[in-house]
């Protein structure tokens, strides 16, 4: 017998889980909703952990929802390590928790996100000054270690140093955050350029150059062969080229993978993430999934992979919530990546296909200046991807071109040259775009129609 029963059980207290819970409550005022998380915190913006370390937000301001969110929506929130879900029994409709309790559910949502991938590097395991950078607790530990390292280093009159392994978005955001506390930040990257998944070689090279004045040195093409330790402390890293870097702490940020073990052990189908249908239902009865844990179909190139981005988790959370509350019209039709990230005063926005394969027959436009770089990838007269490094203005207009498959011939040809505008669309499309829900009894002059 389950210790507790709930009409809806949501595993995960982040973008996807919380959005689903809120959506369910809006549709179903009476059903019982239980939301569990192994992190002991009120829902916070996960991407904000680096901003917290930099002093750009506070623990209070980074709460993603108002303090009284759970009460206001009559959600039973069980938050803390003891509430980690360890087992899922799809037949019995029951989830077993670490504290020994079990929760029976009508419908369950897996919104368990990503977990860090631990690189098999000799000497990395078991060091107390090696941190991942995924959770608020990770960030607070790394922050405290950085402050301590900085103090110690200045006492002994040397530089304080961190090695970040991995130059993906998470690694670089950690590097930026720690650069406010430490003198030398070294970022290692196995690939031949930084941010390899969201940039092309030119963009990576420019970003690397722009990061340098901030004390961040990137080493593309190099990674750690071995972590050098003294007891439980990492004190340096031997690189794949044989050189050594000293360090006070290490951030391991080589990537994340879907946190799908609960469902896998219960027999759910999975590819590169949990496989779901348009309703976001997994192969297990009454078990839905949303967010980073799900494998998404990329609408631009048909590839299947997890889309570990906040807006995607929010979007899927909304759809899963509606489905779970019985609204079968809400369907998920695939997506594509839009990345927005800032480092210091550098802005980087990218979307869609950035490094097209030869056989895709794409046309590429590039507009490069000293400190900015824009790349547009077009296929069959449509925009399918862009990089905007330090050229953010009105970028969403480009995103909409990709999303809506707009025929580029119908647009002002200067739309890519500089900031895109609404006037770049032809009259009809511009009216359509800007006048949604326009009163039916007014004409385009704003006059009541003569009958």
């Amino acid at each position: 017998m389950a210790t507790l029963n709930s009409d809806y059980l949501i595993i995960g207290n982040s973008a996807a889980g919380v959005t689903a819970a809120e959506t369910i409550r809006a549709k179903d005022p009476y059903g019982t909703i239980t939301l569990i998380s192994r992190e002991p915190h009120h829902v916070y913006g996960r991407p904000l952990i680096s901003y917290l370390i930099e002093g750009k937000t506070t623990l209070d301001a980074m709460k993603f929802k108002p303090e009284t969110f759970y009460e206001d929506h009559k959600i039973t929130a069980l938050l803390g390590d003891e509430f980690e879900a360890l087992t899922l029994d799809p037949e019995a409709h029951e989830v077993g928790l670490k504290n020994g309790d079990s929760i029976g559910y009508g419908r369950c949502l897996l919104a368990t996100g990503s977990v860090p991938f631990t690189p098999p590097i000799k000497g990395l395991q078991g060091k107390s000054n090696v941190f991942t950078f995924i959770t608020l607790d990770d960030a607070e530990q790394a922050w405290a270690a950085a402050v301590e390292a900085s103090l110690k280093a200045s006492e002994s009159g040397r530089c304080s140093r961190v090695v970040v392994i991995g130059s993906g978005l998470i690694g670089l955001k950690a590097a930026e955050a720690l650069s406010h506390h430490l003198d030398e930040i070294s970022v290692l990257e196995l690939a031949d350029r930084i941010l390899p998944t969201v940039l092309d070689p030119e963009g990576s090279a420019l970003l690397q150059r722009l990061l340098e004045p901030h004390g961040i040195t990137c080493y593309p093409g190099l990674t750690a062969d071995e972590v050098l330790g003294e007891g439980d402390q990492a004190v340096g890293v031997r690189l794949t080229n044989g050189e050594c870097l000293d360090c006070d702490l290490i951030i391991a940020a080589v990537g994340v993978r879907p946190n799908s073990s609960l469902a896998l052990e219960a027999g759910a189908q999975s590819g590169r993430g949990l496989i779901v249908d348009e309703r976001l239902l997994t192969s297990l009865p009454d078990v839905y999934a949303a967010g980073d844990v799900v494998q998404v179909c990329d609408v631009l190139d048909g590839s299947e992979h997890p889309l570990a981005l906040w807006p995607n988790a929010m979007h899927q959370g909304k759809i899963a919530g509606r489905q779970m509350a019985g609204d079968e019209t809400a369907l998920f039709h695939g997506s594509f990546a839009v990345n927005a990230v800032d480092f210091f005063d550098i802005s980087l926005l990218t979307a869609g296909v950035i490094n097209p394969r030869e056989d895709m027959g794409c046309e590429i436009d590039i507009y490069a200046e000293d400190n900015s770089y824009a790349k547009f990838v077009k296929q069959d007269g449509k925009l399918i991807g862009y990089i905007l490094l330090n050229r953010p203005q009105n970028a969403g207009i480009y995103t909409a071109l990709i999303e809506n498959g707009v025929d580029l011939d119908s647009l002002d040809q200067d739309i890519f040259l500089e900031t895109p505008q609404n006037l770049d669309f032809d009259n009809e499309m511009r009216w359509e775009r800007l006048h949604k829900f326009y009163p039916r009894d007014l004409d385009r002059r704003g006059w009541k129609e003569k009958i």
């Binding site: 991407p47 906040w310 839009v338 953010p392 970028a395 609404n422 800007l434 949604k436 039916r440």
Partner: protein, 154 residues
């Protein structure tokens, strides 16, 4: 909800809407002080595209299902469930520009306010968050090229 619509048929590129918006969103609500004295410099949330021959004022459409809200990583951008107004809480915004990358109209900008990047956008001249006021761009438009009318959607 009531929405602002721009009618390019009547727009004469005078940009008084920009002046009115900047004045309303200043500390003193005095145009001269807003333009010449205040620091941080107040910012207009409406922007006229074009020239004397063809122009149109662009501001937030307060979408039914706003992408800026769906994408916001900090919870700063919200749509009021009752009034429909989309607003940004600058104490929460970290200036990441996800909203800029998602707004189909270029109606959200990120500007530096006291050295911190923050998103700004039309709030329908709200005196309290989410409660629409009397949009000053509409009040000031000499030509009825901006109208504030009950729309057909939330």
């Amino acid at each position: 909800m009531k929405r602002i619509y721009a009618l390019e048929e009547w727009c004469i590129d005078c940009r008084r809407c920009e002046v009115a918006c900047k004045t309303f969103h200043s500390q003193t609500r005095d145009t001269v002080k807003a333009y010449k004295l205040e620091s941080p410099e107040p910012q207009s949330r409406i922007r006229v595209e074009g020239n004397k021959f063809l122009s149109i004022a662009i501001n937030c459409r307060h979408c039914a299902d706003p992408k800026c809200v769906e994408g916001c990583i900090s919870g700063a951008m919200t749509k009021d469930p009752v009034t429909g107004v989309v607003s940004v809480d600058q104490t929460k915004c970290v200036g990441c520009r996800t909203c800029v990358s998602l707004c189909p109209f270029g109606a959200v900008q990120v500007v530096s306010i006291d050295g911190r990047d923050k998103a700004i956008k039309c709030d329908l001249c709200a005196e309290a968050p989410g409660i629409p006021g009397r949009p000053s761009c509409v009040e000031t438009c000499p030509n009825r090229a901006l109208i504030y009318v009950e729309s057909e959607g939330e």
